[in-house]
């Protein structure tokens, strides 16, 4: 039986890699590997998962240096010889082992005004939104985000600028800027402007490269740059 040499981060911010030997299977995901270690070798290993079928995003980790959903990453796709390195997501505080503290990630989502603010009441008629309007197409391109944090973990501007809201929060803000039912456009554009916002994006495109749902936050952020600039030129910022 082939054995994988799996190097796993143990500890918190301070810690180190520990190596485990895991039997290699023909069809095996990285999450299978982590689960095997925790069940049969070392029960003290902490990690997150939920659906294990690529729907929830909870199992995101850094595999051989790249942020991925471990349940949807085949070992054969990433293994180097017979070695894999598994670490927690980058750019987030480490709680323990492979578990990160995602409060900062979601707080930035809130600071980008990534929540819907209605411009109507229950007394008003239904909003009529044409599904083929440019705004709706732009919004649809970004609404499948499940907040897994892979883009945030992949972004170097997040590493270099602690205040940067990050690709997920900005992508969400863009979907709402394009939502004709939303009534907080002005506040939202003010929230996403500035060097904690869209202007800090330098189009590295690591977010778009790594997003497991094939969302392109770079495009959303470019849209925010245009919307914010237009507002500034009109004196509406």
């Amino acid at each position: 039986m082939d054995m994988l040499q799996v190097s796993v981060w143990r500890g918190a911010e301070v810690g180190g890699y520990r190596t485990y030997e895991v039997p290699r299977q023909e069809s095996q995901s990285v999450l299978d590997v982590v689960t095997y270690i925790q069940r049969y070798i070392d029960p003290t290993l902490s990690y997150r998962f939920a659906c294990r079928v690529g729907m929830c995003g909870a199992c995101a980790m850094t595999v051989n240096g790249v942020a991925r959903w471990t349940c949807r990453t085949h070992v054969s796709k990433v293994v180097k010889g017979n070695a894999i390195q598994i670490a927690p997501l980058a750019n987030l505080p480490v709680v323990k082992d492979l578990v990160t503290d995602m409060r900062g990630f979601f707080d930035k989502w809130a600071r980008a005004l990534g929540r819907f603010v209605s411009n109507a009441t229950r007394k008003d008629d239904f909003a009529k939104v044409a599904s083929d309007s440019p705004e709706r197409i732009a919004a649809n391109a970004g609404i499948e985000c499940i907040g897994c944090g892979v883009c945030y973990a992949s972004c170097d501007v997040v590493s270099w600028n602690p205040d940067y809201l990050g690709p997920a929060a900005l992508n969400r803000a863009w979907t709402l800027v394009n939502d004709v039912r939303d009534g907080a456009r002005r506040e939202r554009l003010a929230a996403v402007a500035g060097d904690a916002g869209c202007h800090a994006c330098h189009t590295h495109m690591s977010c778009s490269e790594r997003c497991p749902k094939d969302i392109t936050p770079t495009a959303s952020i470019a849209g925010l740059k245009r919307a914010v600039a237009t507002a500034a030129l009109k004196g509406e910022l």
Binding site: N64, A90, D156, H202, T203, S206
Partner: protein
């Protein structure tokens, strides 16, 4: 935890790095360029002395490098303007290739003219 080179190993990231480093190099070169041209204020002979210095092979090589940096920064910048202002399409990677090609072409043109 911090990312390392493995997270950055994709074309758009290299494009960013080339753009930033070429911009930095050009910004550092500019004061010297302005000073050199300003030498003409002291007359043609002064400018001529400087220009003869630039005929040395090593300087010519450096100049070719500068032209390449300028072409690369321009091409990368045009790519960014397209990404930020034009409707988003799937051809960004090709755009990068065109930008790189144009930059190399300009650099070669200069090198050939030498």
């Amino acid at each position: 935890m911090k990312n390392d080179y493995r997270a950055r190993n994709h074309p758009a990231w290299w494009a960013f790095l080339v753009h930033r480093l070429s911009g930095l190099a050009l910004t550092l070169f500019l004061p010297f360029h302005f000073w050199a041209l300003g030498q003409a204020l002291q007359g043609e002979a002064r400018l001529d002395t400087l220009l003869r210095w630039t005929q040395q092979p090593l300087v010519k090589f450096a100049e070719a490098g500068l032209v390449l940096l300028l072409a690369a920064h321009l091409a990368g910048g045009l790519r960014l303007l397209a990404l930020e202002f034009l409707p988003w399409r799937g051809w960004q990677k090709s755009l990068l290739a065109w930008a790189a090609g144009a930059a190399i072409a300009a650099g070669l043109a200069f090198a050939l003219v030498l």
